[in-house]
């Protein structure tokens, strides 16, 4: 079962990356090219039909992988680069540093990620760069908490005690002895963070605070297609399925519980 989970996760991620990298080859049309054939049903020329501006839906879904992966991976990088050092320091140093980090993490937990992201995005304005930064900023507390927990466990190991006994400084011990034993937790959390960054960013776009149009963005496409659900359901459902599958891919790769 765990193997199957990992394998299906990897397969989905590979497919998403392929779509993002080779979008011009896979998509038959320019994703922003409008035409007069608006709201066409699926046909051999347009497999999923066209949207209200005559753009090919399949091409837009394929190109949408670029935005989602950029936001997801970018936000996870930001969250990791804040959360990992803080988690390591809090866990290893303990005392006041630990108390401060735990306090801040608890503060964040009071406000849900999506709500916080909505407020901040409304203030700084939606753009690709801002989305990456905002989501990264919102998502670092769980990373810090995971890394702190693992660090606490590793800190009590005999080899860390030995390293301290030979006179190693805190920085050296964290780098050489703690980090290699925390890495697997941080890596798994990295994948889960990507999953929830894509999840949250698509929800933001759905609510109208995503990457501005005409950039093909899955959440925004679902919102746009909602009004035409009776005419061409693929307009809304296809990008929605793409979000769900991509999120599931990263989640399956990173989650230890599922």
């Amino acid at each position: 079962m765990p193997r199957l989970k990992l394998l299906s996760g990897l397969l989905i991620i590979a497919a998403a990356c392929l779509c993002a990298a080779a979008a011009p080859l896979i998509a038959g049309y320019d994703p922003t090219q409008t035409s007069l054939q608006s709201l066409d049903p699926p046909s051999s020329a347009h497999w999923l039909g066209t949207d209200e501006l005559g753009r090919d839906i399949l091409s837009r879904v394929v190109y949408g992988a670029r935005i989602s992966l950029t936001v997801g991976i970018g936000a996870a990088l930001v969250a990791t680069s804040i959360g990992v050092p803080l988690g390591l320091c809090a866990g290893y140093l303990g005392g006041k540093a630990d108390l401060a980090v735990v306090q801040i993490v608890d503060l964040f937990i009071a406000l849900p990620g999506l709500v916080l992201a909505l407020i901040i995005t409304a203030m700084v304005g939606p753009s690709l760069k801002n989305l990456v930064l905002v989501l990264g900023f919102v998502m670092w507390p769980p990373v810090a908490r995971m890394v702190r927990g693992q660090t606490l466990a590793v800190r009590e190991s005999v080899f860390v005690e030995a390293a301290r006994a030979v006179g190693g400084g805190a920085g050296w011990i964290i780098r050489r002895h703690i980090w290699p034993n925390v890495l697997h937790v941080a890596a798994a959390q990295f994948a889960v963070t990507i999953a929830f960054a894509i999840f949250t960013s698509s929800s933001l776009s759905f609510l109208g605070l995503g990457v501005p149009p005409p950039t093909p963005d899955w959440g925004g496409m679902v919102r746009g297609g909602f009004d035409y659900l009776i005419v061409n359901p693929a307009m809304s459902l296809a990008p929605g399925v793409a979000v769900a599958i991509t999120v599931a891919g990263f989640y399956l790769l990173g989650s230890r519980e599922a």
């Binding site: 990620g113 407020i119 203030m123 929800s203 759905f206 929605g240 769900a244 399956l252 599922a258």
Partner: protein, 312 residues
Amino acid sequence: MLTLVVRRLLLAAPNLVLISALLFFSVSGLLGSPAGLMLGQDASPEAIAALNARMGFDRPLSMQYLSWIGGALTGDLGRSYTMQESVLSLLLPRIPITAELAFLAILVATLSATVINSVTVARGLIRPAAALLGIAGITVPNFMLGISLIFLFSVKLGWLPTTGWSPWSDGVLEHVRHLLLPVLTLSAFYFGSFSLVYRAEYEAVRRQLYVRVARAKGLSETAVSFKHVLPNSILPVITYIGITLGQLTGGAVVTETVFSVPGTGSLFVSAILARDYPVMLAISMLIIVGVALMNLLADLLYTVANPRIRLA
């Protein structure tokens, strides 16, 4: 019990003050003068200055914060900038709607997660199906699930209304028909995460000695599962409800928007898009206070579900 409640409330107070200050200063600092937003782009600087003076926006931010929090504590949350109404009168009729939605979603998620994962008949079939359903619940975004359900039950089958809300006064049946899909949508994520927590505990409890004794007495597998294992495995789920309540409000924001439910969440989205920050601030604070109170409630429920635990 009472001392516990009082102590927890006192502990939460400094955090609430801190968060409210952070929210207030960042929102008002980054958005700039609300007078400019209220009068539109063509307003003259004199008109903006006059409105600033009249509404008190020209005072230092710290003074504005103090008067805002003073007002909030006495039940005056200010006036909405875009809808000419007081924030309180906007919020009050919407809170019960969101609360009902959230409560039912948690109830449905808890019941389905515990019951489905306790079924002993055809275990080999139900277990993997429940696990798959759980992963789908966690990874399919609310808006996608909501739209898919609308497409299936409203557009294709025509059984349920597409969107909208019907109050109790329109009759119970109408109310439930409008409520069904939003509750289902909101509960999916919690079904998934509660299942994970519950399954782990269930497997641990199943190996306990008293469960073996129950089986040795000749009880059927179903009776063992529902009478002995379930009540002892539900505790972590209750704790988890408290932890996930914060996220629930995020889910409610999306779900209410999809189904055009006139609750607090959809008001929050329109306030954010219109930069109506008295409403934004009020709802944010409502969420924070609500989550803190619900966490306390979850702790109290914990003692009810397991009398062995006494909270000090």
